[in-house]
Structure formats: structure tokens, C-alpha cells
Subunit: 445 residues, 2 copies
């Protein structure tokens, strides 16, 4: 269980020791760099939303934490003033765009890295408080532009390229290869229309569970929902298509749909992901993303060898989320993906531990030098050296103790500070690498 | 009102436009760099604590937000499972040290930058959700060491040096000079003992309000509390001492206490701050920090010209907070300070606006280049150029539109992207600074 590497004295609310936090910071830096490289502006979401806003998404209602003040505790779900903690960074972002539409440059590329809260039962890799890292692009439909004109599918590709770039960078920290599974809801919807499916949304929801419940159960549930046995089997067949090849995807669909092939929508869009030239993209036609607000491309991502942890980065295209929630007449189509940072961290800590990495972090302290104190009376001399080192921009501390050198060096070793500096009898300085034992003269310039 | 620069569609919960967030990020980077330079390990606190833990601090009880789950809403203040959002980063840190004492290297230097929540009424510079940046050093009293031996006063000096270094660095962004006001509670306590004060804590609380209620009212309230008129006046006299000179501080106290001078405690410690050689430290004997957990040094910080905004960085020495809250037999003395980031940001935004800075940020986008698209058919050519620029580590985007160059350049200008790159007819590249108009050849290597 990876979660044993993350401390939670309140179930589901993880906290990290300094070493674990160092690793998380290294992860966040790589993610943030990728997001910046691809041109996303970082904004931060407030932690709270009116519950009415959060409940507009339906499905997730049971996961919400409500807030009330100690001095005046009351819960009133009908009040617009009733606040809850946000459970993702997408719903608040949609509200943010509505609030600030007059001040943003569209298409607006934002990224956000922040905490979200869900009241659900904690399990392996699943927490009540955790960090997500999101990218989104939202356009504004002006001058009669349609959603697909204002936000063409190449923007969907940019989102995937960005997330892929972040996930590739995270491999430098030891994370396995991540495979992004792509599907298109319009493709499914047009296929279901051809099959004569009765209940589109319910079918999506059943098919989305294919990996969990298996093929037979999918067919049986669809039939129970009123679909014909033939339709149910066809829904299963299309869901089982899984390929990295654009040609194979086209051929399989031609085979399945024969003369109806031309009636399919969304296939051109899906094919563009396979033609990106990345070895991390697969078209996976069972991905449906539940009953969410997605209207086109949908994404889920799995780490090789950790598929059972669930998706570590999901998202999709949402053409109506922003305008809808604001009651606005202007349409703001969007596309985005979210990385589950805390889940990735718990996997990485587990891997490091398995590889025998002592503190499961592998990162040295950013503090590069500890200056040894020869005696308590000479502490000020050491402090002056430390201050000089800091003035040059090198993080440093003065040894907190003035006991034997061995004890002082041991303190640096335990804090993973790589070097100690000595003031020698002739007042010259020497630097010693705590981990290799190598010692040389040290000059501060 | 500085707060008009920060958007709050829910009162007290600020959110920033991308430009404001860019400025906040620049502030956080300077603060984080200073904290790292002085050897503090960054850790993060979970957002919640058991309310019993939060209430142990008494005074602040009315500011707490309680949590409950939507599916099972109930508030039970007597339950240990009742959670609330933390209102500062010190109380959770004390609990963190108790939770993890077996895994930390003492003296432990931590910094935390995070959100805190208070249910109080929002006013100028005062929010319900805001960001604090804290540094603390906590020692462990082992082998019979006293609190002052395990955590000598030079550690208090390190905390002040660190915060001062961060505040000096923030001036590069336009913040005025910050003056750190230092006092010592032992000094006040020993003075009050000499004066024959009846109620030490109540007197501290009254004296702490000197700036708000004035000298006469302080005396009158002390007398109402049962102190003699003479004692009350002496308490006022010592509170009015305010000096940057160690000699003057000593002289004034000698004058006030005459033969009792030797009975004062904590003066030596206070003098060390004035001897740090910094032009930003003042001994201010009215600083008391309410009824808090402080046991020695106490700090408050005011920005020149913005004194009415209140302290922008406060803290002090707390010798009993950690052990006490854990019911531990081992004592963990600590000292720390906290910077009110959101309050500083609101002041900085106001100053920038007054100085005519258009978007009140002054920061360019981290995206350095936008590649112009000659026509929608040639978008892929531009995307290839963008990808090459990104591969070199330079943040870049492809223009989202393919209309007239002027419109494209206008988009870059509004997003504060400094440069655009053109693909010229002969396929060579040119780069143009959007703000100066300067144009040169551009080669990607």
C-alpha cells in the first residue's frame, strides 16, 4: 500500500515529512515548468463555492464538505450563502471565467495547482484532501463563431501535448511511463444513434464500467435498461476498440459500421490525437467519463504497472460548462485536463521505497552548506561565514550545536545537507562533502 | 481602499486576475528564496484540525470555520472528530511536531506557505481566506537542557534575520521599507512584578491596545481593572519606550527602574536584536501580542506609510506550545514569525495602481514568445516552430488566431507576451519585440 508513505493522523488528510515534501516540490516544479512552457497563465481558485454552484454538477453531491461558522453554526442548503469546499478545480474555474469574462484575454489558457476536498471514504491512492494540477483553454464565441470555430480541435491537442510533456518530465523523478487514453463522446453518441440505443447517458455510464464489471455484465445491464441484445453487444464491441494506430482505428470502425461509417461524427478529431507523433497516446473507445459535462474529446491516463490505481490524469472538452453555469448568452467552450498530484506522489514514494531509497525522497536538501561551530564562544565567527555564503545566494545554516565535529557532521548528514564548512586554525576555510568525505579548500567570492 | 484591486465575488474570499497572480507569484518566489537561503525546510499543513485542538488557543474561537459532510450534516463541538479549518499555520505546526517528533531533526527549521481561514468580518486588508508565509525553529529539550539552552536566543535572531531578508527582497517589487518592532514578554512580566501589577495577563491586553485607544484610556482601563493609579502610569511609561538604540533603551530603563533595574529579565535578549546591525529593527515596549502563547521575544512589523493596515508580519517565542498541546513530557521550545502575504499583495497592488501601472502588476508574462500564424492552412508550420522553441526551454504559444498580423500582435500585447516570431516568405524567422517594435532575425539553436 503506497499510502503508508504518507502520514495521516486524520484519515484521508495526508501530510508529508520534509523529505516527502521535497519530492512533491520537485514534482510540482516539473509540472509547473511544463505548463509555463506551453503558455498557460497560473491562477489560483478560492477554496469555497456556494453549494448551489457545486451541486449543479449533480453526481458528486455526496462528496462535498460544507462550511459553517463556529459562532453561528447552521446549515441551509437552500441558501445561496451556504458555502462548501470545492471538489475539483474545473467547476470553480468555470465560475471564475463567468466572474471575470470582461478582464480575460480569450482564448484563455490557465493552469491552477491547488488543494481540493472530497468527503468520500479514503482508500489506496484516494484522499479527502489532495492536490490537483489543471490546464484549461477556454474560448469565447464571438461574431457568430460556433464552439468548434472559436476553440478548434488543435486546442484539444495542445492540452494533451502539455499534460504529456509534464508526465514525460516526471519520469526523471522515477515515475513510470503514462499512457493517455483518448475517446470522443460525439463518436460514441453517433454510434449509439446508429445502433438505435434508447438511453444514451445510461448506456455511457454502464459502458464506462467495462474494466470493473466485465463484458458480460455490461451486456446484461444494458439489456436490463431496455436495450436490445443486439444493440447491447454492438455497444460492447465498439467499447472494446483500443489502438494506437489511426489506420487500425479507421479500419475497425469501417468494419463495424459498414455503410453507416460515414454517419459517424467526431472520428476526424479522435484520429488527430493518434497522428500527434507521440508514443503515449491510445484511442480507447470505452472511456466515457461518467455523466459529466464533457461534449467531445475525453481523456484518462494510466501509469504502466499502476493501472489499478485508476486514472492519474483526466479531462475533456466541455462546450457548455461556462456559459451554462453563468446563465450567460455567450458560449464559452473549453477543454482541459487535471493531474492527480497526490496520487502520483504516493506511487512515487512507494517506488522509491521499493528501490531501497532510505527516505523515499532521493532529493538532497536545498540547503547546500552547514558551517561548523568550533565552540559556543566562536559561534559569531561561524555566523559571519554563513551570512557571507548566503549573500552569494547559496542556502546555508550555522550548525545549531557546538559539540564534537562528528556530531555536527551527523546532523548535516541526517538533514541531507551535502557540505560542511570549517573555520581552520589559521582562519582559512575548508569544505567537506558529508556524503563522499572529500575535503578541499573553500574560498568565498 | 487597496482591496478594490482584489476581486471577491464572495465577501472576504479574494481571487486574482492572471496579472495579480503573477505579482503574487513574484512575491512568493522572493519569500521562498529567502526562507531557503536561511536553511528552512518547506512543509505543508493540511487544511483541517480537530476543533478541540483549534479551541485550545481560546481567544480566536469565534473566527473558526467548521466542516461537515453534505450527506450527513452535523456539528458536534464535543466530538474529537469535529473538524475545522485552521486559522493560522502555527497551531497546526505545533501539532505536526507532536505527530512527527520521532522523524524530525531538532532543532527543526521549517517554513510553510499556505492558506488560512477566519470567519471574521472582512475589512480593508483583512480577508476570510488568505495566504501566510511562516518560518519557525523548534528545539527538543534533551539531556536536561532548559528551553533557553536547547533553543538559545540566537535562534530568535535567525528568525528575524530571515524575515527581514524576505521583506528587504520584496522592496525590489516596490514594497516600502518594513520596520520590525521587537519586545520581550519576560521584560514586561518582570517590570510588572516590580510595579506590583495585580493581573498580568489583563494588563498586557490593555497595554497592547495603546495605539488604538490612547494613553489616557489605557490608564483608566488599568485602574478599572484594580491596578493603582501609580502602577497604571508606570505601565504606560514603559510601554511608551520606543528606540532603535541599545544604549538609549538601557538608559531609559535604568532611569525608570533605578535600583530595581537589575531585577529586570529579558533585557539582554532584547538588546541583541538592536545589535544585529540592521536598520529595520526597533525596540517597541508596547508590543504584547494579546493573550497568546508567547513566552519571550515578540514581533510585529509595519510598513512605512501603511501603519494603519496593521502588522504585516508577527510572531514570537513560544516555549510551551508544542509539548503542551501534545500532553508530552518533553519540552519543545519554539520561535517563529509569519508574513501576511495577501495583505502585502493588496498594498502592493494599490501602490502600483497609484503609480499608474496599467494592470497593477508590472510583470511580463512568463510566456516569452508567440509564433504568428500566416494562415489557418499554415498553422502546422507555426506549431512546429513553437514546439522547437519550447524544446529549448523557452515558454511559447502559437497564435490562437490567423487574422491580420496587427490583431495577432495585439493579442500578444494584451497578454504581456514580449515577443512575436514570424515565418517569413523565404521560411526564415524574424522576432519582433511587441513593446519596443524592434525586429531582428531569429535563429533557433
Amino acid at each position: 500500500m503506497a499510502d503508508s508513505n504518507i502520514k495521516t493522523s486524520i484519515s484521508g488528510f495526508p501530510e508529508l515529512l520534509p523529505e516527502g515534501r521535497r519530492l512533491e516540490k520537485a514534482m510540482l516544479e516539473k509540472i509547473r515548468n511544463a505548463f509555463t512552457l506551453y503558455g498557460f497563465d497560473e491562477i489560483e481558485m478560492r477554496a469555497v463555492e456556494p453549494v448551489s454552484q457545486l451541486l449543479a454538477k449533480g453526481e458528486t453531491s455526496k462528496e462535498i464538505y460544507l462550511l459553517t461558522r463556529l459562532q453561528d453554526p447552521k446549515i441551509d442548503l437552500k441558501s445561496k450563502k451556504q458555502l462548501g469546499l470545492h471538489f475539483d478545480l474545473t467547476v470553480p474555474f468555470a465560475r471564475y471565467v463567468s466572474d471575470n469574462q470582461g478582464f480575460l484575454q480569450f482564448p484563455f489558457r490557465r493552469c491552477s495547482i491547488g488543494k481540493v476536498w472530497r468527503g468520500e471514504r479514503p482508500t489506496a491512492g484516494r484522499f479527502r484532501e489532495f492536490t490537483q494540477a489543471d490546464v484549461d483553454i477556454v474560448a469565447r464565441c464571438e461574431n457568430g463563431l460556433s464552439a468548434k470555430e472559436a476553440l478548434p480541435v488543435w486546442q484539444d491537442l495542445e492540452v494533451v501535448r502539455t499534460i504529456n510533456s509534464a508526465l514525460v518530465a516526471l519520469r526523471e523523478l522515477g515515475l513510470p511511463k503514462a499512457i493517455i487514453h483518448v475517446n470522443n463522446r460525439e463518436l460514441l453518441q453517433s454510434a449509439y444513434e446508429i445502433f438505435g440505443v434508447q438511453d444514451y447517458e445510461e448506456t455511457l455510464r454502464v459502458v464506462d464500467k467495462l474494466d470493473k464489471i466485465g463484458a458480460e455484465e455490461v451486456v446484461s445491464q444494458l439489456v436490463k435498461n431496455g436495450e436490445s441484445e443486439e444493440t447491447a453487444k454492438k455497444c460492447l464491441q465498439i467499447s472494446e476498440i483500443n489502438t494506437t494506430s489511426a489506420d487500425e482505428l479507421t479500419a475497425k470502425l469501417q468494419n463495424l459500421f459498414a455503410s453507416d461509417f460515414e454517419k459517424l461524427r467526431g472520428l476526424d478529431e479522435l484520429l488527430q490525437f493518434l497522428n500527434l507523433g507521440l508514443d503515449t497516446i491510445v484511442a480507447d473507445l470505452k472511456i466515457a467519463r461518467g455523466l459529466d459535462y464533457y461534449t467531445g474529446s475525453v481523456f484518462e491516463t494510466f501509469l504502466e504497472g499502476f493501472e489499478n490505481y485508476g486514472s492519474i490524469s483526466s479531462g475533456g472538452r466541455y462546450d457548455n460548462l461556462v456559459g451554462k453555469s453563468a446563465g450567460s448568452k455567450i458560449q464559452y467552450p473549453g477543454v482541459g485536463m487535471s493531474i492527480g498530484v497526490t496520487r502520483l506522489l504516493s506511487i512515487l514514494l512507494e517506488l522509491n521505497k521499493q528501490n531501497g531509497n532510505q527516505d523515499a525522497s532521493g532529493e538532497f536538501s536545498p540547503v547546500q552548506i552547514m558551517v561548523i561551530v568550533n565552540s559556543e564562544e566562536e559561534r559569531k565567527d561561524s555566523e559571519q561565514v554563513t551570512e557571507k555564503i548566503r549573500k552569494l545566494g547559496t542556502p546555508a545554516i550555522t550548525s545549531p550545536i557546538s559539540t564534537k565535529f562528528g556530531k555536527q557532521i551527523d546532523f548535516a548528514f541526517k538533514r541531507k545537507i551535502q557540505n560542511v564548512v570549517f573555520i581552520q586554525e589559521d582562519k582559512s576555510l575548508a569544505i567537506k562533502n558529508v556524503f563522499t568525505g572529500e575535503q578541499t579548500e573553500y574560498k568565498i567570492n
